[in-house]
C-alpha cells in the first residue's frame, strides 16, 4: 500500500506530516457523468454519438473530434481572457493543500451518510474529472495523486460571484483548489462542502472520451499524460516501478554494495554483443558509442578494490522495437568479489522475491492468466539437459563436429535448406551456437516457472569463467520466468590471456558472419540482416590491461528491470512499464 506523505507549507514554516493511507479508493467504481465536454461549451454540446469501433468510423470520428477540439480550445481561451479581465489569474501560483483526497477518505471513513463536520476546514487540490450541475447545486469530482473526492458546491454557501464562475468558467479537466468543511451526502459520497475555490489551472483541451479516446493505443504512448488522466491505473504501474527499483536498491545497500555511475558515452561499446548507437562529439572530434552494457567498467571497479558494486542505469541498443524490446532500457548490474555464480543465484532469488513481496505481499502471482510461483528454491537445470529433455538429443555427444550438429538441429527445428531460417543455423560457427539456437527456439518459451539455466557453452559466453569441472562449458546461468530472460550471471573470467583469446574469437566470428551475410544473400531481407551486423566490434585493450593488474575472483549479474516490472505489474508489453517508450515516427494519415 502506498505511504502518502503530505508536505504542508505556509510562507515561513515547513512541517512534515506523514500518514499511511490505503490506496483502494481509486478502484471504487463511481458513476461518471460526461467526461469530454462541459455544458457551457456550446460547440461541444453536439457531442459525438457513441460509435462502434472500426477503422472507417475511427477516422471519421478523429477528424470530427479535431474540429471539436479546436472550437473547445478557442472557447476556453476566451474564458482565460475573460477571467483575467475580471481580475482572476487562471494560472495560479500555488495552493496550500491541507489534505490529499485519500487522506480525507481515510480520516472520515466513519462519517455517516448525510452527516457534516461543520467545524473542520480542509483544502484540497486536483483535476476535475466529472461534474454535474443543477440549478443551485453542483457536484464536481476531483482527482489528485492519491485518489478522488467529490466537491459539494451549493449556491448559498458560496458567494454569488463564485457560483456564477463555477457554472460559466469551470470545465472538466481544469485544476481546481477548493476549501470548506466535510460532508457525506445522503447517497454516501464523502464530499468537501465547498466554501471557497480557485481555478488553479485552466485547461484548454478536452480530456479524451473514456470510451473512445483510449482505443487509440498509439496515442496512449505518445501522450502518456492523457493516458494517465484517463486511466489512473496507468500511473499505478509507475508507482510500482518506483517501489521495485527502490526495493532493489535497498536490498543491495543492505548487503554492503556501493552504487556507482559509469559512462554512457564510450570510445568503444563492449560487454555484450549488440549493435550500438553511434554519436559524434564535436570538440573531441570523434565518434562515441552509447553503452550496450555496464559490465566492463564495473569490473574495472573490482580491480580498483571496490569489492561490491552495482549500477542501476540505462542501456542502449540499436535494435528493433517489440513488446519486449525498447532501444533504451534499464538494468541493474552487480559485481561481488570472492563469490561465484552459485551465490548470484541466491542473489537473484533474493531480489525477485523481495520485490514480489513488496508489490504483492505474496509469492504466488498472476501473469497474463498464468500463475507463477516464486517460492524458493527455484528450479536449476543445465542447458544441455534442458535441450536433451525437450528434444532427446544430447549435444555434448557432437564434440566439435559442427556439421553433424547443424543437420540434427535443422531436423529438430524443422528447417529445410530453402527456408529463410536456414541461415540462422547454417551460420553457426560452433556446436555451442547450434545448441543455443535450439535452446532459444524450443526450450525458452517453455520456461514459465522460474528456472535457472546453467552452464552455457564457452563459445557463446565470452566473459564467463570456464567451468571448474566440465570442459567446454562456463560457470554461467540465465534466469527465465514466463519464457523470458530476466537475469544473466556468471563467475567472471579473470584470466587476461583467456579473455584476450575470447575477444579475438568473438571479433572473428562477428566479421565472418558479416562477410557470410554480405556474400550469402542479396535479397531485400538479406539486406536488413547485413545491416544488423554491419557495425564494427573492437577489442577493448584498456579492459584487458586492467585485467592484467589482477581482478579478484568474482561473480556478476545483470538483471532487466523493465522485464521484472512487467512480471510484477502483469503488463504484457514493455511499453506499459516505460513512461515514454520510443515509437515509430507518426505516419500522416492520408485522407
Amino acid at each position: 500500500m502506498l505511504a502518502l506523505r503530505v508536505w504542508k507549507s505556509s510562507s515561513h514554516l515547513i512541517t512534515l506530516v506523514s500518514r499511511a493511507v490505503p490506496v483502494n479508493i481509486r478502484t471504487k467504481t463511481r458513476a461518471r457523468v460526461r467526461c469530454c465536454s462541459s455544458p457551457s461549451s456550446t460547440a461541444a454540446a453536439t457531442s459525438s454519438p457513441i460509435v462502434t469501433p472500426g477503422t472507417s468510423d475511427r477516422r471519421r470520428r478523429s477528424s470530427s473530434s479535431t474540429s471539436d477540439r479546436d472550437s473547445i480550445r478557442a472557447i476556453r481561451l476566451k474564458k482565460v481572457e475573460e477571467l483575467r479581465s475580471r481580475g482572476y489569474e487562471p494560472y495560479a501560483y500555488m495552493w496550500n493543500r491541507s489534505h490529499t483526497a485519500s487522506q480525507l477518505q481515510e480520516i472520515y471513513s466513519n462519517l455517516a451518510n448525510g452527516e457534516e463536520c461543520k467545524e473542520v476546514s480542509v483544502s484540497i487540490g486536483g483535476r476535475i474529472v466529472a461534474r454535474r450541475a443543477f440549478g443551485k447545486l453542483a457536484f464536481l469530482t476531483i482527482r489528485d495523486d492519491s485518489g478522488m473526492i467529490q466537491l459539494y458546491c451549493e449556491k448559498e454557501s458560496l458567494t454569488e460571484d463564485q457560483f456564477e464562475q463555477l457554472k460559466t468558467f469551470v470545465d472538466i479537466g481544469d485544476i481546481l483548489g477548493a476549501s470548506g468543511s466535510i460532508k457525506r451526502t445522503e447517497k454516501g459520497e464523502l464530499s468537501v462542502y465547498v466554501k471557497y475555490f480557485e481555478i488553479l489551472t485552466k485547461s484548454l483541451l478536452p480530456l479524451p472520451d473514456k470510451y473512445h479516446g483510449l482505443t487509440d493505443i498509439d496515442k496512449r504512448y505518445r501522450q502518456r499524460y492523457v493516458d494517465m488522466i484517463a486511466n489512473p491505473e496507468v500511473a499505478d504501474v509507475f508507482r510500482i516501478r518506483a517501489k521495485i527499483v527502490s526495493e532493489i536498491r535497498k536490498t543491495m545497500e543492505s548487503l554492503g554494495f556501493i552504487e556507482v555511475e559509469t559512462p554512457v558515452l564510450q570510445g568503444a561499446a563492449g560487454g555484450a554483443d549488440a549493435r550500438p548507437f553511434v554519436t559524434y562529439h564535436n570538440s573531441l572530434g570523434r565518434d562515441l558509442y552509447l553503452r550496450i552494457a555496464t559490465e566492463l567498467h564495473l569490473k574495472r571497479m573490482l580491480v580498483g578494490g571496490l569489492e561490491k558494486v552495482f549500477e542501476i542505469g540505462r542501456i542502449f541498443r540499436n535494435e528493433g522495437i517489440s513488446t519486449r524490446h525498447n532501444p533504451e532500457f534499464t538494468t541493474i548490474e552487480m559485481y561481488e568479489a570472492y563469490s561465484d555464480y552459485q551465490s548470484m543465484m541466491n542473489m537473484a532469488e533474493e531480489i525477485v522475491t523481495r520485490c514480489a513481496l513488496v508489490v504483492h505481499g505474496k509469492l504466488n502471482i498472476d501473469y497474463q492468466g498464468t500463475e507463477i510461483s516464486l517460492q524458493r528454491p527455484w528450479r536449476k537445470e543445465t542447458m544441455h539437459n534442458l535441450v536433451k529433455e525437450a528434444t532427446g538429443v544430447d549435444f555434448s555427444e557432437f564434440g566439435n563436429n559442427v556439421e553433424d550438429a547443424k543437420e540434427v538441429a535443422k531436423g529438430i527445428l524443422g528447417i529445410g535448406s530453402e527456408d529463410k531460417d536456414n541461415n540462422l543455423v547454417q551460420t553457426c560457427p560452433s556446436v555451442g551456437h547450434v545448441l543455443n539456437e535450439v535452446f532459444e527456439t524450443i526450450v525458452e518459451p517453455t520456461l514459465i516457472q522460474p528456472t535457472f539455466v546453467l552452464d552455457y557453452p564457452v563459445e557463446i559466453s565470452p566473459l564467463a569463467k570456464p567451468h571448474r569441472r566440465y570442459a567446454g562449458l562456463t560457470e554461467r546461468f540465465e534466469l527465465f520466468i514466463c519464457g523470458r530472460e530476466i537475469a544473466n550471471a556468471f563467475s567472471e573470467l579473470t584470466d587476461p590471456m583467456d579473455q584476450r583469446n575470447r575477444f579475438e574469437e568473438q571479433i572473428k566470428q562477428h566479421n565472418k558472419k558479416r562477410a557470410a551475410l554480405v556474400t550469402g544473400s542479396k535479397s531485400a531481407e538479406g539486406k536488413t540482416e547485413v545491416d544488423d551486423c554491419s557495425y564494427e566490434v573492437s577489442l577493448d585493450e584498456d579492459f584487458l590491461t586492467c585485467l592484467e593488474y589482477g581482478m579478484p575472483p568474482a561473480s556478476g549479474m545483470g538483471l532487466g528491470i523493465d522485464r521484472l516490472v512487467m512480471l510484477l505489474t502483469n503488463s504484457a508489453s514493455i511499453r506499459d512499464v516505460i513512461a515514454f517508450p520510443i515509437l515509430k515516427i507518426q505516419q500522416q494519415v492520408s485522407s
Binding site: A3, V6, S9, I14, S18, V80, E89, Y91, Y93, W95, G125, D145, I175, L200, T201, K202, L204, L205, Y225, V226, D227, I229, A235, F238, R239, A242, S246, E259, V260, E261, L265, G267, V278, T279, H281, N282, S283, R286, H297, M301, G304, G305, L306, E307, R314, N318, I321, D340, E475, S491, T494, M497, T545, C546, E548, Y549, P552, P553, A579, I582
Partner: protein, 899 residues
C-alpha cells in the same frame, strides 16, 4: 636500501612478540627478557641471512630474482617475466586464476573485530580467511615474509612465517618468492597483534587468487618532507581517513599523474586511498537526496534519454540514429519537459536522478555527460522550493560532515582553503535590484526594449565586462550578473527574480512585471541549483519560445527550441508547480574539495591520447571552395591510411563590400560545402578533418588585407566567438591562416592570430592549426611562428610562389624554408593548373627531397576546385607517394594534442 633496514627491524619486533608469550613478573623483567630475546633473534636472523647469502651464491643465477631486483627491472621486462611465470604454471596444469576462495570475513570487519587485541596477543585457535590485494611486500628471510593486505581500502599486515604454513620450508620459500606486489591473495590463518601494536594475520594457507602482471606504480623516494607526506598517505588507516568537507591534496598522492589517474581509475583507487572516499561521498550525496525526496512523497521516475527533440534547456545536443526505425534521435539535455508532462498526467511529485548529455567542450567544470536531479512539485512555488533547498543542502552537509561548514581550496591547493558555511537560511539577492545597487545602475524597466539593450551595452563597456557577440540583452545581463553578483556568492546564496528574457520556462513574477519567479543557488561562485515557479500558461509559453527563436536567429545558439508536444501537454493543464534542478557533480566537487570535475567522475571523458591508425601521421591537405564553383567533397579520393585535411576557402572577416568586420568571420566558401556535407564526409572517412582557412587573397574583386585592429583584444574576442560558432555549425576541426596582404611594419598579426589559435585550442574548439605563408609574407608569418610555434601544427608554405619549376630548384626552396620554419612541420605544396612546378616533376621533387634526407610528412594541394576536371590526378598520386614513402614520420608532430 632503507627499506631493507626497516623491514629487518620490523621483523625483529614481529618475531620477538612470538616469543614473548611467557608470563612476565614485571615490566622491567619483561623488558630485559625481551631485549635478550631480541638479541637472540637478531643473532638468529643474522645467521640466517648469512646462510641465505651463501646459498644464493652457490645456486648462482638460476635463482629467481628477489622482489628488490624486480623493482629494478623495466616495466616491459617485468611484465614479460610474469607472463612466463604464468605460462609455466599453466603448463604444469595449475590454474593461476582459481574459481573461488571462501572469504569468512572482510578486511574491514577483521580490523573492527581484532583491532582491540592487546599488543603481542595471538589467537591461535581462531581461523579466519581474508582476501585482498598486496600493496607491499618485505622479505625478512626465505622463511619469513611481511605483506600489507588491502581490502576495501583498509590495511592489515600479513606475517607469513614458514613455521605457521602448511607448506614445507622449500615450497614455502619458492611460493613466496613468486608472490608480487599487486597480487590478489587469499589467506587462511589466525589473528594476532605484533609487539608494536600492528594488527596482523598469520597465514596457514596463502594462495594467489589473481596475479598482477604489471609493475605497480610506487611513490618515488624523494628527499625530505615530500616522502614523509607520501608515507603518511600510504599508511593511512580508516580511523584517520579523509571525510567530506575536509581538504584534499592530490599532489601528495602515491599516483599523481592526472592522465593515468583518470584513464586507469582502478590504479587511482588502488593506490590513492582517499579516492574511494570521494566516490563513497558521491554515493552518499545521491542517497541523501533520494531519501529526502522519498520522505516528502516524491516518486522517482525514468524519462527517455533519447528524444526526437532535445528540449528543456539551451545546449548543443548529441545526435544519433536508430537504424531500424531510420530515425534521428537526440540525447537529452534535460528531463524537464517529460517530467512536467508526468505532472500533467497526475503524478503530483516526481523526480529523476540521471545523466544529461551536452555536446560541449571538456574543461574543469564540464563533462559531456553529467548527473542531475530534477524534481517537480505540484501546488508549490519558488518560495517553497527555496525553503526546501535550504533544508536539503544544510541537512546534507550536516549528515556528511557533522557540521554546517566545509573547507574548499577555491584558489588552488597551494593557497589556504576557504570556508563555506551552509547554515540556513541562505542569503537572498534580487538580481536586478542587486545589480543596480552594486554597479550603481538604473536599468530601463522594459528589458525587451532597444533602450535597455543599449544601456546594458554601455554598462558592459564602462565596467570592462566582456560580452562576445551576439550581444542580446539576456547575454549582456548574464555577463554583468556574473561580474557583479556571482562573484560575491561564496557562501550559498540565492540569486532571485530573473528577467523573463533570460528564463523561457519560468512563470512571470506575480507582482513585478518583466521578471520571473526563479532562483539560482550559487555556492563558491558556481551555480548549483536552478528552480522556478513553472510557467504553465500554454499561450505565454508559446510566446516565450517565439522570443527564443528571435535570439536564435540573431545568432544565439543557446536559445531554446519550441517543443510542440510539450505545449500541447500544457494545454491539458499543468497544476501550479515548482520545478527544481541540481547539478550533482558540482555538489560532489564542493564536498570533496575537488577543483576538477574529473575528480568526481569514475570515468571522465578524456581527449584521445593519440591519433592511431593513420600512417606515421602523414597528411594530405587540400584547399576547397575558393573559386565559388559548386565543388563537392565526394569524388575527392581519400586514402584511408592518411590524415586528410580539407581547408574550406575561405572564412573572411569582411563584409561583401570588403569592409573589415573587426574579427567577425563569415563563411565565403562555395555554398555547396554545407554543414551537412561536412558532416557526411567526416562520417564516411574517420581520417578526414575539416578546417576553415582564414582570409585568402580576395573576396570578389576586393583584395583582403590584414588591417591592424584598433583594439586587438576585441578583434580576438570577436574572432574567437565567430569561429567557435562556425566550428560548431560546420563541425570544424581547425583553422588555417592565409592572410596574404599586410600593411608595413605590422606587429598586430602575430599577436592577434597567435592568441586566437591559443585560445581556440585551449578551449578545445579546434585541434589543428596551420599557416600558409608565401614568399612575400614569410616575414609576417615568421613573426607569428617564432612566438607561437607550439600551437601551430603545419606550415603549408606556398612553394608554387617561389618561382621554381624544376625539382632541383624545389629542393633549394625547401631547404631555405626549412631553415626558417621547422622542417618536420613544413609541407611541400602544389598548385593544380597554376604557378611553379607543374606535372610529374612535382613528384620528382618529392623524391629528391627524401633522397636529401627530408621527411615528406605531407602534401598541400591548391585546390580541389581545379582538380575535379582532371580526375584528382595529383591528389591520388600524392597520397600514393605518402603511403609508399619509406621515411618515418616524426611522431612528435603527428599527434595533435593541446599544449
Amino acid at each position: 636500501m632503507a627499506d631493507g633496514v626497516e623491514a629487518a627491524a620490523e621483523s625483529v619486533a614481529g618475531l620477538s612478540m612470538d616469543s614473548s608469550k611467557a608470563e612476565a613478573p614485571s615490566k622491567n623483567a619483561l623488558k630485559k627478557e625481551l631485549k635478550k630475546k631480541q638479541k637472540e633473534e637478531e643473532k638468529r636472523l643474522k645467521e640466517e641471512e648469512k646462510k641465505k647469502k651463501a646459498a644464493a651464491m652457490t645456486s648462482s643465477q638460476s635463482q629467481k630474482p628477489s622482489s628488490a631486483e624486480d623493482e629494478d627491472m623495466d616495466p616491459t621486462q617485468y611484465y614479460e617475466s610474469r607472463l612466463k611465470a604464468l605460462a609455466s604454471l599453466k603448463a604444469v596444469g595449475v590454474n593461476p586464476y582459481p574459481h573461488k576462495f571462501l572469504v569468512s570475513m572482510s578486511v574491514v570487519d577483521y580490523v573492527e573485530k581484532y583491532g582491540r587485541l592487546r599488543d603481542g596477543e595471538h589467537l591461535k585457535d581462531v581461523e579466519v580467511s581474508l582476501a585482498g590485494r598486496i600493496m607491499n611486500k618485505r622479505a625478512s628471510s626465505s622463511k619469513l615474509y611481511f605483506y600489507d593486505l588491502y581490502g576495501d581500502g583498509v590495511k592489515v599486515q600479513v606475517m607469513a612465517d614458514a613455521r605457521d604454513s602448511d607448506m614445507d620450508e622449500v615450497e614455502f620459500a619458492r611460493y613466496h618468492a613468486g608472490v608480487k606486489r599487486g597480487d590478489i591473495v587469499g589467506i587462511c590463518g589466525y589473528p594476532g597483534k605484533s609487539k608494536r601494536g600492528e594488527l596482523s594475520i598469520f597465514p596457514k594457507k596463502f594462495i594467489v587468487l589473481s596475479p598482477c602482471l604489471h609493475m605497480m606504480p610506487r611513490q618515488k623516494a624523494a628527499p625530505g618532507a615530500d616522502n614523509d607526506a607520501a608515507k603518511k598517505n600510504e599508511g593511512k588507516t580508516p580511523s584517520d581517513v579523509w571525510v567530506p568537507g575536509m581538504t584534499r591534496n592530490p599532489e601528495t598522492y602515491v599516483l599523481k599523474d592526472q592522465e593515468t589517474r583518470y584513464r586507469q581509475r582502478y590504479l587511482d583507487l588502488m593506490l590513492n586511498h582517499e579516492v574511494r572516499q570521494i566516490f563513497k561521498t558521491r554515493a552518499k550525496i545521491i542517497s541523501y537526496i533520494r531519501h529526502f525526496l522519498d520522505n516528502l512523497g516524491f516518486l522517482e521516475v525514468e524519462t527517455p534519454m533519447m528524444n526526437m527533440i532535445a528540449g528543456g534547456a539551451a545546449a548543443k545536443p548529441f545526435v544519433t540514429h536508430h537504424n531500424e526505425l531510420n530515425m534521428k534521435l537526440y540525447m537529452r539535455i534535460a528531463p524537464e519537459l517529460y517530467l512536467k508532462e508526468l505532472v500533467v498526467g497526475g503524478l503530483d511529485r516526481v523526480y529523476e536522478i540521471g545523466k544529461q548529455f551536452r555536446n560541449e567542450g571538456i574543461d574543469l567544470t564540464h563533462n559531456p555527460e553529467f548527473t542531475t536531479c530534477e524534481f517537480y512539485m505540484a501546488f508549490a512555488d519558488y518560495n517553497d522550493l527555496m525553503a526546501l533547498t535550504e533544508q536539503m543542502l544544510s541537512g546534507m552537509v550536516k549528515e556528511l560532515t557533522g557540521g554546517y561548514k566545509i573547507k574548499y581550496h577555491a584558489n588552488g591547493v597551494d593557497k589556504d582553503p576557504i570556508e563555506i558555511d551552509f547554515t540556513p537560511p541562505f542569503r537572498r539577492l534580487d538580481m536586478i535590484e542587486g545589480l543596480e545597487a552594486m554597479a550603481n545602475l538604473s536599468i530601463p524597466k522594459d528589458l525587451s526594449s532597444e533602450a535597455a539593450n543599449k544601456y546594458l551595452l554601455d554598462a558592459c563597456e564602462k565596467f570592462d565586462v566582456k560580452c562576445p557577440p551576439p550581444q542580446t540583452t539576456a547575454r549582456l545581463l548574464d555577463k554583468l550578473v556574473g561580474h557583479f553578483l556571482e562573484e560575491t556568492c561564496v557562501n550559498p546564496t540565492f540569486i532571485i527574480n530573473h528577467p523573463e528574457i533570460m528564463s523561457p520556462l519560468a512563470k512571470w513574477h506575480r507582482s513585478r512585471p518583466g521578471l520571473t519567479e526563479r532562483f539560482e543557488l550559487f555556492v563558491n561562485k558556481h551555480e548549483v541549483c536552478n528552480a522556478y515557479t513553472e510557467l504553465n500558461d500554454p499561450v505565454v509559453q508559446r510566446e516565450r519560445f517565439a522570443g527564443q527563436l528571435k535570439d536564435r536567429q540573431s545568432g544565439d545558439d543557446e536559445a531554446m527550441a519550441l517543443d510542440e508536444t510539450f505545449c500541447t501537454a500544457l494545454e491539458y493543464g499543468l497544476p501550479p508547480t515548482g520545478g527544481w534542478g541540481l547539478g550533482i557533480d558540482r555538489l560532489a566537487m564542493l564536498f570533496t574539495d575537488s577543483q576538477n570535475i574529473k575528480e568526481v567522475l569514475l570515468f571522465p571523458a578524456m581527449k584521445p591520447q593519440d591519433e592511431p591508425s593513420t600512417k606515421d601521421g602523414k597528411v594530405m591537405m587540400e584547399y576547397i571552395g575558393a573559386t565559388g564553383i559548386p565543388v563537392s567533397f565526394t569524388g575527392v579520393p581519400i586514402e584511408r591510411k592518411i590524415d586528410f585535411h580539407f581547408l574550406l576557402s575561405f572564412a573572411i572577416d569582411a563584409d561583401p563590400s570588403g569592409k573589415p568586420q573587426n574579427g567577425i568571420f563569415s563563411p565565403c566558401w562555395a555554398s555547396t560545402l554545407t554543414p551537412t556535407a561536412v558532416q557526411a564526409v567526416k562520417a564516411h572517412h574517420p581520417n578526414v578533418k575539416v578546417m576553415a582557412s582564414l582570409a585568402g587573397w580576395s573576396l570578389g574583386k576586393k583584395i583582403i588585407h590584414w588591417y591592424k585592429p584598433a583594439d586587438p583584444q576585441l578583434w580576438i574576442a570577436n574572432a574567437f566567438t565567430s569561429l567557435q560558432s562556425l566550428a560548431t555549425r560546420y563541425h570544424l576541426d581547425g583553422i588555417d591562416i592565409d592572410y596574404e596582404n599586410f600593411p608595413k611594419n605590422d606587429t598586430s598579426f602575430a599577436f592577434c592570430i597567435g592568441e586566437l589559435i591559443t585560445m581556440l585550442k585551449n578551449q578545445s574548439v579546434i585541434t589543428v592549426a596551420t599557416i600558409a605563408p608565401y614568399y612575400k609574407t614569410v616575414g609576417n608569418y615568421l613573426d607569428l611562428y617564432r612566438q607561437y610555434s607550439g600551437v601551430i601544427d603545419y606550415v603549408n608554405h606556398q612553394f608554387y610562389t617561389d618561382r621554381v619549376r624544376m625539382p632541383t630548384g624545389y629542393l633549394k626552396a625547401f631547404k631555405r624554408r626549412a631553415r626558417q620554419f621547422n622542417a618536420t612541420k613544413l609541407l611541400p605544396s602544389y598548385e593544380v593548373k597554376g604557378r611553379g612546378i607543374q606535372g610529374d616533376a612535382f613528384f620528382e621533387a618529392l623524391k629528391l627531397l627524401e633522397s636529401n634526407g627530408f621527411e615528406v610528412n605531407g602534401v598541400m594541394i591548391f585546390s580541389a576546385d581545379a582538380s575535379s576536371s582532371n580526375g584528382y590526378y595529383y591528389e591520388r598520386k600524392s597520397q600514393a607517394f605518402l603511403l609508399n614513402s619509406t621515411a618515418n614520420g616524426n611522431v612528435g608532430w603527428s599527434t595533435v594534442r593541446d599544449g
